[in-house]
Symmetry: C2
Subunit: 437 residues, 2 copies
Amino acid sequence: MINRKFNPAQFLVLIFITFIVIGTFLLKLPISTTEPVTILDAMFTATSALTVTGLIVVDTGTAFTLFGHIIILLLIHLGGLGIMTFAVFIFLMAGRKIGFKEHVLITQSLNQNSIGGVIILAKKILLFSLSVETVVFILLVIRWVPLLGWEEGLFASLFHAISAFNNAGFSIWSDSLSGFVGDPVVNLIITSTFILGGIGFTVIFDIWKKKKFKKFSLHTKLMVVGTVVINSMAMILVFLLEFSNPGTLDNLSLVDKIQAAFFQAVTPRTAGFNTIGTGSLNDSTLFFTILLMFIGAGSASTGGGIKLTTFLALMLSVTAFLTRRSEISVFRKTITDAAVVRSLAIAVIGFSWVVMDIFILDITEDASFITIVFETVSAFSTVGLSMGLTGDLTAIGKLMIIVTMMIGKLGPLTLAFSLATQRTAHVRYASEDILTG
Amino acid sequence: MINRKFNPAQFLVLIFITFIVIGTFLLKLPISTTEPVTILDAMFTATSALTVTGLIVVDTGTAFTLFGHIIILLLIHLGGLGIMTFAVFIFLMAGRKIGFKEHVLITQSLNQNSIGGVIILAKKILLFSLSVETVVFILLVIRWVPLLGWEEGLFASLFHAISAFNNAGFSIWSDSLSGFVGDPVVNLIITSTFILGGIGFTVIFDIWKKKKFKKFSLHTKLMVVGTVVINSMAMILVFLLEFSNPGTLDNLSLVDKIQAAFFQAVTPRTAGFNTIGTGSLNDSTLFFTILLMFIGAGSASTGGGIKLTTFLALMLSVTAFLTRRSEISVFRKTITDAAVVRSLAIAVIGFSWVVMDIFILDITEDASFITIVFETVSAFSTVGLSMGLTGDLTAIGKLMIIVTMMIGKLGPLTLAFSLATQRTAHVRYASEDILTG
Ligand SMILES: [K+]
Ligand SMILES: [K+]
């Protein structure tokens, strides 16, 4: 099934590059656009769609024709579902090589242990995803067709159903979902959809199968509790910090304030839609949003970032260090050392790339520091929120963001695979301690 | 010698708080100041001096009398030498508890293994420090008395000799050493002094004793090579990034440009003097300076930050991860897992504090994001460089920076001690992997 010369991670990178080349070509065709776009902008759009980021250099709604929109939707689907499926396979294959315990974890949570099973699994993921998208599409149609008429209503529903489930953040409206800041139906449907897409297929499958919290795997427990806690905290913070900001919540009614705060709290991980203007947020909210974006969604999901479990493993190990415990336990289970090391590596390496990126953009772009940090993390975590820099990027800036979206989407996954199948060194040197701190 | 109820780390914190209280009281006395200062400003100055940071809320030269200046110098001495001595002791004591190998490392590099030896060691550190300060004082006198006259020349030489060796960053001049941006003698003396103070006593002792690079401990090798590489890279970057910046290097001759770039490259880790205006630097240079500040100086030195070896251990482990090696080796030695875990913990915990601090200052202070990030990291790493925010801080802002200077100075050290003497958990839960990345 996969060429023996490549490992699954390398295969994934190759596929991605191939799709970006094809996507760029298709979006550059005159049939795709209402006015000519540069090859760099076509490439940026193709990469943004395939990595389900949602950062845009041309207005999605007006710059592309129906054909262009269909290409974008296809790329989103390939990227979102493709990555989710691939992630599950990679963890499955990695599990095979790293011994019985982790293999059991993955096969248990997926209930698969043969190639036949893998194909059944792929079908399950596809079936599940298309079912959710269909239901969401129908719900949105019920809401939007009466409002927008048949043509725009149907297309908007299709586009946003797919964009939401895949955490793509693309919208056909230039102000994203700002027109529906106080619409409880749209708020509820869209947020539920991208949270479902972002929590990870293994989590949904685990919940579906086991029903009771006590029986869930450690991964599922962490994801469920972590998502609820972090989203609630974020909502309260956004509500308080933006309450009297005239650019965002001040002019809204209390109910709308709560809705807008909720949406703004959950979209950074890593949906990328917005109902209030990102550029108008306070610096404190922006910084907090940057942190949420970096954390991101769940493993083996349609979302990006270093992943919630990676962040939680880090925080739990820090807590263990500070309370001087040598074991990192939660929910009466100990997190394996391998998972902690993997988390640290993913966080540190991801952070290092973001730092280098910010440094380069600081040189090439004429924008404030927070704007550049925000844009970089948004690209790395494939979020798609922007304070407005994307459209003004220099050519070097666009290339950096393209590469960052790629690294952000494939990096943590391939890294996790790479670490899970780590070889040992050929030469063993004597070990020696150094002073630190 | 040390009360049995406290461990050395807790003892250190207690001593520090005591000295800050005494320092605040003394600096609040009318005899210390030329005009009344608030108790918060006295406390800020005392903390900044004791933590050898150098951030100032009142102008050191004009706001304090000679008595005030002497108090500040005493606090700097207590903080700088005290911490260095204490750090050596803590590593020595930690070494005893963590087994033969690390004990050998520390006692080898210090040549001590008894309480008698410890006292001899303390005397050695004191003798070494005072000798360096005396030599630097004499060299500065030779330069400055002809320029500034006897009174200012002598006092400036004494003040800056002590401030430089202890990496305190305090200056009696409101523009720090900007008046000597092109003075090769001052540049050379001051930078050599703070680099010597910042590289760490164990390194100097190791070099002194073994003479040849091949025989140095792994810690010494990393410090020597790391310092040369990072300083050279930083100098080239500052030179290139600031070359045509009219606010910094543009108006200087080529020789002065090189001198100023060198000074600006080495001062962030963590001397804190400046010869060009920090606020005039490009965003790219500022961001790079923030990174250098966070990295900081050497362990068991007068400098701050997470420490160069901590950073190098992190980078080496990242490199090992990316090249899929399970051992982290350099200079034909393997860095112990304990050192890597310690490094990761120090970096992650330090970073977490800085993040929380930035978030709070974003709410309380009316300043740009990069100004706040710069100020916070400068305080955490006890650098003392400022883009100008310190003087304008709100009361909450001042308190946050005071706490941050304390945590920055004591945190990594107590953390390293804490981790080195870690207990194991009482309850062992079954371990379970989670998906990350
Ligand atoms: K997105
Ligand atoms: K300093």
